[in-house]
């Protein structure tokens, strides 16, 4: 092999190694960036008037007068859209009109109820029934000429003396109204319009919320329109474009076609609605940038569709801190024993093997053990209620982080210079006093680093708490014997299980962003701490 080739291979090798590190770093960025960026949009985003209304009504946040003013300001623009919708739907909604027609007839009948009817009244009743049938047929048919004919029949009785002073006057009103509609609307396309109109109505309600004066829906998420400007934009898009799937023949996936609603409703009253929405949507919703920091303290409602992740943070904190409280004393003592007392005896070797085994046990097996031991075996014997609990989860996690704490503490205690120990021993301290008084304080920063790292581990673990402590939905726990929501379990559930959350991707990403942020902050603190520590130990 020539020297040049060898040098080239050497260069190639270096490049490959460099590339692999770059690839790893790129993977880290590629994974963290979408989580943090899209999760961040759960906290900092462009909100809408609906969001401010929700905050005011559910949490009492914001200035009521200011929001009242904004609601009125937006209502003016919104009314224009609603007017267009009403005008158009009046002609289309023949079901509604038919009900009205029947009501009019019922009223006429009720007017004459009780006592005997004279001949005139009987004739009125018959006429009313005829008119009713005519009108119903006019509303039913999709042939404009026939409808016209029926309507004319009804209208010809408009000034009939028989009907004067009776409720039957209503027939004429309905007939006139409908008469003006059929001049503008192609009756043949009525069914098609009705479906599209349903979609438009639904999306408009999702965009702007229920109309002022309408009865309030029972579900909170239905009481408000789009709370975020990005969600509003999606609703708007579905308002402006109808989607349909066109078959492409056998074996080929259907193709999605977008039809502008302007075209769909061309030539009708409703056509004017879409330019209005396109140009004035921001006046209807009044978007503005906001930092919804309360995301981190609010409870969610409507199944993670609205609200924040406060209880999840609380649960994670509880379970993590509790597990560390259990594991830290055990871990530090074990580490102290390994460094200070134990020589290379059989016991130490067994101990080390056990610690390594504990570190290597798959996390799901910890979950199984927690279920079999803490939940099923221990809890009933202590008289605690059955089922998963924070306590069981924390104990399971304590076992999981125990090896981490032992290893970190051992390293920290070993790193304390011999001189410290010797100085203290030479002054007459017993070994125990020497350890508590000198070695432990010196090792404390290192132990703290291990503690922080194991906290981050405990906060992120999901599998051990699946069967021991975690729930996806539920009340905030009142005691340690109850299960809790946690960030980790919540992230899992929102990604895979929760149907409502799938409609609010910012909340899905918000939950996992919070978890990742907690873990990253803990880790960065640990890294910085360790950096300082190693500087100090090197005497810099």
């Amino acid at each position: 092999m020539t020297v040049n080739l060898r040098l080239l291979l050497n260069k190639l090798f270096t490049t490959l190694a460099l590339l692999s590190v770059l690839l790893i770093v790129a993977a880290l960025i590629g994974i963290l960036a979408p989580i943090l960026w899209r999760g961040g949009s759960a906290v900092v985003f462009k909100d809408t008037l609906e969001f401010r209304r929700l905050q005011l009504e559910q949490f009492g946040r914001g200035d009521p007068q200011e929001i009242e003013r904004e609601v009125h300001q937006a209502a003016e623009v919104r009314q224009r859209a609603y007017d267009l919708l009403d005008r158009f739907s009046a002609g289309l909604d023949t079901k509604d009109l038919q009900t009205k027609v029947r009501q009019v007839h019922t009223q006429v009948v009720e007017q004459f109820a009780g006592g005997d009817m004279d001949a005139q009244q009987r004739r009125t009743k018959t006429l009313s029934r005829e008119l009713r049938d005519e009108l119903l047929e006019a509303l039913d048919t999709d042939d404009a000429a026939q409808a016209e004919q029926h309507l004319q029949n009804v209208l010809s009785h408009k000034d009939d003396p028989l009907l004067r002073q009776t409720a039957a006057q209503g027939f004429a009103v309905i007939a006139e109204q409908y008469h003006s509609v059929i001049k503008r609307v192609d009756l043949k396309r009525r069914a098609e319009y009705a479906t599209a109109l349903g979609e438009v109505r639904e999306e408009l309600c999702a965009l702007l919320g229920p109309r002022l004066g309408d009865p309030q829906p029972a579900l909170i998420e239905k009481q408000y329109g789009a709370t975020r400007w990005d969600a509003a934009q999606q609703h708007l898009d579905r308002l402006l474009y109808a989607e349909s799937w066109v078959e492409q023949g056998q074996g080929v996936a259907n193709k999605k076609v977008r039809i502008p609603r302007d075209e769909q409703f061309a030539g009708t009253d409703l056509a004017a609605l879409f330019p209005l929405l396109r140009e004035h949507s921001s006046e209807m919703l009044l978007p503005q940038w906001t930092c919804y920091w309360q995301y981190f303290i609010d409870d969610n409602f409507s199944g993670h569709y609205l609200g924040g992740c406060g209880p999840e943070i609380l649960g994670t904190l509880l379970i993590t801190v509790l597990s560390i409280v259990f594991a830290l004393p055990l871990g530090v003592v074990a580490a102290a024993h390994l460094v200070e007392c134990a020589a290379d005896s059989l016991f130490t070797r067994i101990l080390r093997t056990c610690i390594n085994t504990l570190a290597g046990v798959p996390s799901i097996v910890f979950g199984l053990f927690g279920l079999a031991f803490f939940v099923i075996y221990v809890q009933p014997r202590l008289g605690l209620p059955p089922g998963s609990s924070i306590l069981a989860g924390a104990l399971t996690l304590a076992l999981l982080v125990l090896p981490v704490i032992i290893r970190a503490s051992e390293e920290a205690i070993r790193a304390v210079p011999r001189a410290y120990r010797e100085a203290s021993l030479s002054l007459g301290a017993s070994r125990f006093r020497c350890f508590v008084g000198v070695t432990l304080p010196a090792a404390l920063p290192g132990i703290l680093t291990g503690l922080i790292l194991s906290m981050s581990r405990a906060a992120g673990e999901t599998a051990p708490i699946l069967f021991t402590a975690g729930i996806a939905m539920g009340k905030i726990p009142q005691s340690l014997a109850q299960p809790t929501r946690t960030l980790s379990y919540g992230s899992y559930d929102m990604a895979v299980g929760d149907k409502m959350a799938a409609l609010a991707p910012h909340n899905q990403f918000g939950m996992v962003m919070t978890l990742v942020a907690v873990v990253l902050i803990l880790n960065i603190v640990a890294i910085v701490l360790r950096g300082r520590l190693s500087k100090r130990l090197r005497g810099l």
Binding site: F13, V21, A27, A372, F432, V516
Partner: protein, 326 residues
């Protein structure tokens, strides 16, 4: 006990008036604390041993009925997994063994070369400063919770794969392998880097002195010298991959099947861990299904214990050899 100082009669020596260690009578509190401390220390230290014992005991206790039932041979010989069926339950675990095997081996094939290259770069090629900067970044990769990886796999990577590879579903073995290798890399890098660094300096210097390039030195001298640690690194990465639960549950699609052909990575698989995680919540206690899931857990436990013992043996050899050099 009193330790006096022996003084040579000819020299003038410093007279110690205080003993180096106080006697129990003089410092009874300290003495008592010391004794108590040692006793309590040993007892508390034994908790880890106790924990490991309890874990084995209780997993075994719950899994035992499954091994007593007639389903054991079925587990290793059948692909039918219908443990919840009331009429004809089937406990064939071949599909989930396959799932675990394929994602573990697949992720190692990606992670081991990458991790090893990165470890060589960090130990031999870049400067100390760069190394100090890059190591924490790789450690962060290990710190991200597995559920966050799973979330990424299910909500970002799966749609991406589905769109760009034209697959019916993005939740498949490939997705799982990619994410698992990202998770296994930090373990491999840090253990391999440790063992490469502990291979003696004089080995490298001898090789350079013979005129070898850096690549030749690394591949022909350093890596063979550090092979124990490198194998241990790969095994540790493997343990991480095989025991991983949340990610594979969320990313693999969870179909109990062996794809045809068997190496087709674009199909959905299910692993042992995901089976436990997915089915334990809906299983009544003390049913045959419940025992079967514990049996799967026991297999995982025994397997990881075996791997652990191998790693420990290998790493102890690394320690010994580096101790010899130092």
């Amino acid at each position: 006990m009193q330790i006096g100082t022996q003084t040579q009669p000819t020299q003038q020596a410093v007279e110690f008036t205080r003993p180096l260690l106080l006697s129990p009578a003089q410092d009874w509190l300290g003495w008592l604390l010391g004794r108590l401390g040692a006793g309590v220390l040993t007892a508390i230290t034994a908790t880890s041993v106790l924990a490991v014992g309890l874990i084995f005991l209780f997993i075994l206790r719950e899994a035992w009925p499954f091994f007593q039932s007639g389903h054991v041979w079925e587990a290793f010989g059948s692909k039918q997994w219908h443990p919840e069926s009331a009429t004809a339950p089937a406990f064939g675990m071949l599909t989930i063994f396959y799932g675990s095997a394929v994602v573990t081996v697949g992720s190692l094939l990606v992670a081991a070369p990458l991790g090893l290259m990165a470890a060589m770069l960090l130990s031999d090629i870049v400067s100390f400063r760069v190394r100090q900067a890059v190591k924490p970044i790789i450690e962060l990769l290990a710190a991200i919770p597995s559920v966050a990886y799973g979330f990424f796999a299910a909500l970002v990577l799966a749609p991406f794969l589905q769109q760009h590879l034209g697959l019916p579903s993005g939740a498949n073995a490939l997705n799982c392998i990619l994410m698992l290798s990202v998770m296994a890399i930090p373990t491999i890098v840090s253990v391999a880097e440790d063992s490469l660094s502990s291979a003696g300096r004089e080995l490298r210097e001898a090789s350079y002195a013979c005129g070898a390039t850096r690549a030749e030195t690394l591949i022909k001298v350093v890596v063979p010298a550090a092979h124990n640690g490198i194998i241990a690194a790969v095994i540790l990465g493997m343990m991480r991959a095989i025991g991983e639960t949340m990610l594979v549950w969320m990313a693999s699609g969870n179909a109990t099947q062996v794809p045809t052909p068997w190496y087709d990575l674009t199909q959905s698989v299910r692993t042992m861990t995901a089976t436990i995680a997915g089915e334990m919540g809906e299983t009544p206690k003390d049913s045959q299904h419940y025992f079967a899931l514990f049996a799967v857990g026991l297999m995982l436990l025994v397997f990881s214990l075996g791997l652990n013992l191998v790693t420990e043996y290998l790493l102890s050899r690394v320690r010994k050899s580096s101790g010899g050099h130092a």
